[in-house]
């Protein structure tokens, strides 16, 4: 079977879900006639028309709120945030309105909010963000952030079928760099399940999204140069977190490095560390370490961005320290 890119995998999921369920519709800025800033929704307008592929005003509060209202009425809207950085505009709508709707009012709100996320692309402060940590501590929201083409497709289908709001972060660095074969049939990846991206026994790297690939590169280097057998866990879902997978890898390797592209303070690595503490502290042979972005807005110049974001040598450096502890 032919390989397709991460971006094409998402698009394939959107086509298949729109075909499967007439309640699924797309709404976002420049997603119709133009096909979206990254062309993720290219071709949907031609096939499904303006009533199901809605070019919206520049209006994140408006479209997220409207999606919620439509979802209450039985629709399954998929909102594109043109760059995920702009989801901040809809923070109130997502956290105060959408996330609480089922709990306080028994209103189902099945909707997906998706958008290009992440750095390593010279996008500067407003086209590179990873705002997932801002949402994982809001009960009522689910958050996924795939790293492979197959997971991108399978998680998108799961997100659209989920009966609650799912924030779907798409890594724009991976859009056209990563390819994969799509499993046959109706490929759905369950939300809340991590994936072992690489089996290992000496230490574990827990990560997600673009840094999965950095961690895999680092693991290869560590095997080659140090003889270390590194396990890489791709979380895939950030809310809910797969505690079982985290505990399993801790019990297997007893040493954990958490890597994420998001900034350090308040990042999800802190939460994972706390859970390891609570659930399996006695299985640790070393303190949990983390490699993250520095706590700065993401700068534009390549030399600056490369310094701020975690790189393969950073992961190798940290893993060696952990192995030697």
């Amino acid at each position: 079977m032919a390989e397709i890119t991460y971006l094409e995998a998402i698009r394939e999921a959107l086509f298949e879900e729109m075909e499967r369920d007439p309640n699924v519709f797309m709404i976002g800025e420049d997603i119709g006639a133009y096909g979206g800033a990254f062309k993720v929704t290219d071709g949907l307008l031609a096939k499904y028309g303006e009533s199901r592929v809605i070019d919206s005003p520049i209006s994140e509060i408006g479209i997220v709120g409207a999606a919620a209202g439509a979802a209450h009425m039985g629709m399954r809207p998929v909102v594109e945030i043109q760059f995920i950085d702009f989801i901040a505009n809809a923070y109130d709508m997502l956290t105060n309105y959408v996330a609480t709707a089922r709990y306080r009012a028994f209103l189902p709100t099945p909707m997906v909010v998706r958008g290009p996320s992440g750095g390593y692309v010279r996008g500067g402060p407003f086209h590179s963000q990873n705002p997932e940590a801002g949402f994982i501590h809001t009960p009522g929201l689910k958050v996924v952030y795939p790293s492979t083409a197959a997971d991108a497709k399978g998680l998108m289908k799961a997100a659209i079928r989920d009966d609650d709001c799912v924030l779907f972060f798409e890594h724009k660095y991976l859009y056209r760099r990563i390819k994969g074969e799509m499993p046959a049939g109706d490929h759905v990846v369950p939300i809340g399940k991590a994936r072992v991206a690489r089996e290992g026994t000496d230490l574990s790297i827990i990560t997600y999204a673009a840094t999965v690939h950095k961690a895999l590169d680092a693991a290869e280097q560590l095997e080659r140069e140090d003889g270390l057998n590194v396990e890489v866990i791709d979380l895939r879902s950030l809310a809910p977190l797969d505690d079982d997978a985290i505990v399993a890898t801790v019990q297997k390797t007893n040493r954990v490095l958490i890597v994420h592209e998001d900034t350090r303070t308040g990042g999800i690595a802190g939460e994972i560390t706390a859970r390891i503490n609570e659930l399996c502290f006695e299985w640790l042979d070393a303190p949990v370490l983390r490699v993250t972005a520095h706590d700065v807005p993401l700068p534009y110049a390549p030399s600056l961005e490369d310094f701020v974001l975690p790189q393969v040598p950073d992961i190798v450096f940290a893993a060696r320290r952990l192995a030697a502890y």
């Binding site: 005003p57 209006s59 509060i61 409207a66 439509a70 109130d92 709508m93 309105y97 209103l107 609650d164």
Partner: protein, 389 residues
């Protein structure tokens, strides 16, 4: 038929409601409503006011758990506007739209249980006051951030349009919410998409303590309709018939596929933001003047009497309302408090519930068992039973 005080967006007027002369009472507008419907409007307004008066009593007895929000003096705008909808339509109320919710089918028992945070209240004790809804009966519960319901109702009505359903939505905002981004984005979206949505701006003069003159430099809030390219109409919100007729025109437009509209209803908030608010910011005599000269129920009673309805007939309605409220109060007071573990149910469809945290393991009702012994809050409580208020 237009009421004498309703005006199109091209008319002139004042933004601020508090000068009651701004909405001088004139002749009451004509209507096509039947006699039975006009009596119905009186019932809903009276029920709204009397139910709130009962809530004040319960509040003073500390049986209302949180704050109490009154719509005293605004019953006409709530009831008259909601009355313009029909079955299948959906309305999103605000904190001063108890009357609108009653018209849509919310019951006094539900309101009382909700305020008293009972376990079988419409939100099972999760939300306060009148923050609840029922899409079957046609109302969706608001949240506290103001303006947010405008985009949500744009989406509800977008769905009506997408499915070709003969349904209309109505959303209330106050003068204060017109300053929010959500109001702007929601109404702009609804206008562009030609959603069958009526946006009611209840201009009651104050947002908490802030007068409308400090909320906006616009001469009239209804003028904002021009900027969105949609029709706007202003009406006397203390005239239940004028309110009904203006809203009905907007609802009919929406039903005909002509898109969204704004209706600005001029009224006055006679009580504070909530029951705790002493209204120190209100000029002396202002509220009293509105109560004396422009009470919506007094005005409507005068109209009905003038149309030949007997005072006895209205008094019978008052008695019926009191009886209904008494019965509802008995039912509400007999219902229990929520089971603590119910707090962990239904955040998501899947998983269906959260687990209690480790320090609560095995404790079914930790608060009751450990932190609130019998007699809590009383000085000389008996060891068993003898609940106090």
């Amino acid at each position: 038929m237009a009421s004498p005080r309703s005006a199109t967006t091209r008319g002139r007027g004042r933004a601020a409601a508090p000068q009651s002369s701004a909405i001088a009472k004139g002749g009451e507008g004509s209507t096509s409503l039947t006699r039975a419907q006009r009596i119905d409007l009186y019932y809903w307004m009276r029920l709204t006011r009397s139910l709130e008066e009962r809530l004040v009593n319960l509040y003073r007895q500390t049986k209302v758990v949180g704050g109490l929000f009154r719509s005293l003096g605004q019953e006409a705008d709530a009831v008259g506007s909601a009355y313009a909808l029909r079955k299948g339509d959906i309305l999103s109320p605000l904190i001063r739209n108890l009357g609108s919710m009653l018209v849509r089918g919310a019951t006094p028992v539900e309101i009382l249980k909700q305020y008293m945070a009972r376990g079988d209240s419409p939100t099972r004790g999760r939300e306060l006051n009148i923050h609840f809804g029922d899409t079957e009966r046609g109302f969706i519960g608001q949240i506290s951030p103001l303006g947010d319901m405008v985009p949500v109702m744009a989406g509800v009505t977008l769905t009506f349009k997408m499915r070709g359903e003969d349904r209309v939505g109505l959303v209330y905002v106050g003068d204060g919410a017109t300053s929010t981004g959500a109001f702007h984005e929601g109404i702009n979206f609804a206008a562009v998409q030609r959603c069958p949505l009526v946006v009611i701006i209840e201009n009651n003069g104050y947002a908490y303590s802030t007068p409308t003159t400090k909320q906006t430099a616009a001469a009239r809030l209804v003028d904002k309709a021009v900027g969105y390219g949609i029709p706007g109409e202003r009406a006397d919100g203390n005239d239940v018939i004028a309110t009904y007729e203006a809203t009905k025109r907007a609802v009919d437009r929406a039903r005909r596929g002509e898109g969204a509209s704004i209706v600005e209803l001029m009224t006055y908030r006679r009580k504070g933001h909530a029951e705790h608010d002493n209204q120190s910011y209100v000029p002396e005599g202002e509220g009293e003047r509105w109560a004396r000269e422009n009470d919506p129920i007094d005005r409507y009673v005068a109209r009905l009497i003038g149309e030949g309805v007997s005072a006895e007939e209205l008094a019978e309605i008052d008695v019926r309302v009191q009886r209904e409220i008494d019965e509802a109060t008995d039912i509400a007071e007999a219902s229990g408090v929520p089971e603590p573990l119910d707090a962990l149910v239904g955040i998501y469809a899947d998983p269906p519930e959260e687990k209690p945290l480790w320090f609560r393991a095995g404790k079914r009702a930790a608060v009751d068992v450990n932190e609130r012994p019998a007699g809590w809050g009383t000085f000389d409580a008996p060891a068993k039973g003898g609940g106090s208020d």
